[in-house]
Symmetry: C2
Subunit: 369 residues, 2 copies
């Protein structure tokens, strides 16, 4: 999948924008190449995205009809949520049909494929618009073959203490800082939002489990043709009751030289739809870092070289500084909140640490295959 | 999927029986409820399965035609190999078509679904026979919800130091010994061979990765309606470059109270189709056991309570005894080769260790939900 020409998006988040689950919308607004014309959410219509994301003055409308009469007409409806399990909320069907009939393409990252829905597919055919399901896995079904990285390549994977805390954003911020520093950095998208932003990749959580590692290995091979520093978007967390297997598939499929641990201070428990009598606390960082290195090392050596914090629960700058210093002391690793304060310094420190890894230098010394 | 009436099988292993990959055939012959009329393998036609599996005097034939004229006519062709990636070798198509046209059902555990192949499906429809694809995943697409085990249940998962070394066989031998000891034991099949043998289950390596843990959790719920001691068939290994994510999905989806580590002494490297310049050594047991307990414990506490060896590389009984004693000393855990020598003693020791686990007693103390 390659980057398309910029679209004019209306992003559907109906009732989810200010609750949670709107990470797709936020990611596309913050990092995407497309112009976002409007957010579609009747529960907050009339307000602006800038109230939650300063600098993004995007109107919020109540209906497709309202979006169509904006000065700039949208050409695409993008489904902006990522609910647990990725199902299409039934209430959205009417909205999607309305968009199709108005001539909008519909782009979705849900597990429920719009293109496989007879009613939606028929409507799209009649209207001559495109339904794009980003989560549709490639036809290729291959297990991993133990491919080694091209000499000269450096592979960094973002891992984390929970899902939906910013592993994609951290990867994108690191790429931005790397490019600014003159490094040939590549973002490797492994989820639907990353794919919407960067125009290629595979949503690995949709891949048949036998082929997750083989698919990630193949994406890395593609990434190595695009640049030297591959920054791979992580998924889930190694201790997530529902998604840890996807996380491990990324760790063992990408065989990263180094990992960046993403962590959201102030979160006590994993945030997902679980039964009320179950409880899943967030891991303690130093032990969790060591465990990542042990588990990654079962296939190829790797080291956590930095901590990327999501300090969104701490608006106060002084308190945030204190937390950053505390975690830096606790882990002995460079620590920053890249989304809030930028990643330039973190990138410099990570970059130096990666260049210093013995297995990176050993791989460079191999004759190119 | 429920157990069908016993079938009369001819098992296809063409060229693979005495090489490798015939683990499906061997499992079905050793543990299945069906009558195996013949093995179909032209490279060893005229010989008997008993040469490799004493006690199983099954003729080996060169063609479907030869199988059809045996005193007992087969009613089903079963694909008896599990190649890497699960693809249908093109050379077998003619054999499968011949079987279909002769009125045989065809049962397969390949990733390539016979039922989705237009030529095979049309032939089956014309002949009025059934094509069964054991690896077809259930329609249900649900992520894990953190379900806790029913009070009174005990869950044991077989894990291992490699794939294809006997995790399924060990689970079946443990069930056999448990039933003989009067325990209400249930085998939970997680792969196509286990499903062929026990008539239910899901091939988890075929499930979309986002739903692996949710699917395993759901299988456990079903298993708990069938008995108290759930012995879950493991898959892959936690350090397998291609399959570890499936393994972790089982560990975190089944949240076993205890694990039994399956190990094949004498194996130096992981046995799978990898690139020639890669090398993946087999893990050292004590470290690997501790790592399993740490990784499982990220979601729910678990302990490795026994070692099941596959001593097939050591025909000499005295040498085997020495290896068992050495591994028992090294790990401090009860150790046996259940397939070769039976699992009765191992089951008694495992059973006692599981009953003693604090988290088992805590779960029993919960009010039944």
């Amino acid at each position: 999948m390659n980057a398309a020409t910029p679209r004019r998006l209306v992003i559907l988040t109906e009732g989810q924008w200010h609750v949670h689950n709107a990470k797709t919308a936020m990611g596309v607004i913050r990092y995407g190449p497309d112009h976002v014309v409007a957010l579609l959410d009747s529960t907050i219509a009339g307000r602006s995205v800038a109230e939650w994301m300063p600098g993004h003055d995007i109107p919020i409308v109540a209906s497709i009809g309202r979006a169509l009469v904006l000065p700039e007409r949208p050409d695409t409806l993008l489904i902006g949520i990522a609910p647990t399990g990725g199902k299409l909320p039934p209430a959205w069907r009417a909205t999607i049909l309305e968009a199709i009939r108005a001539g909008l393409n519909v782009h979705s990252g849900l597990h429920t494929f719009l293109g496989d829905d007879p009613e939606l597919a028929a409507a799209a055919a009649a209207a001559g618009v495109e339904l794009v399901d980003y989560r549709r896995a490639p036809e290729r079904m291959e297990t991993a073959v133990g491919r080694r990285h091209k000499p000269g390549s450096r592979v960094i994977l973002t891992v984390g203490t929970d899902c939906a805390i910013g592993k994609m954003s951290v990867a994108l911020e690191l790429r931005r800082s790397a490019l600014a520093a003159g490094d040939a950095a590549v973002f490797v998208p492994t989820g639907q939002t990353g794919m919407m932003i960067d125009g290629w990749g595979v949503a690995v959580d949709r891949v048949i489990s036998d082929f997750v590692q083989g698919t990630v290995e193949w994406m890395l091979e593609e990434g190595e043709t695009r640049g030297d520093w591959l920054i791979v978007e992580g998924q889930g967390s190694l201790d997530h009751p529902a998604y840890s297997s996807v996380t491990l598939g990324l760790i063992h499929g990408a065989t990263p030289h180094a990992m960046v641990m993403v962590h959201k201070p102030g979160m006590a428990e994993h945030d997902f739809d679980h039964l009320p009598d179950a409880s899943f606390p967030i891991a303690r960082l130093p032990d969790f870092i060591r465990l990542h290195e042990s588990v990654a090392g079962l296939v190829a050596p790797s080291k956590v070289v930095g901590i990327a914090l999501n300090t969104s629960l701490y608006p106060d700058a002084a308190e945030t500084r204190r937390i950053v210093e505390q975690i830096e002391a606790e882990t002995g690793l460079p620590t920053a909140d890249p989304v809030r304060f930028g990643a330039d310094r973190l990138w410099r420190e990570i970059r130096a640490a990666v260049e210093d890894l013995p297995w990176v230098r050993e791989n460079d010394a191999r004759a190119a295959g």
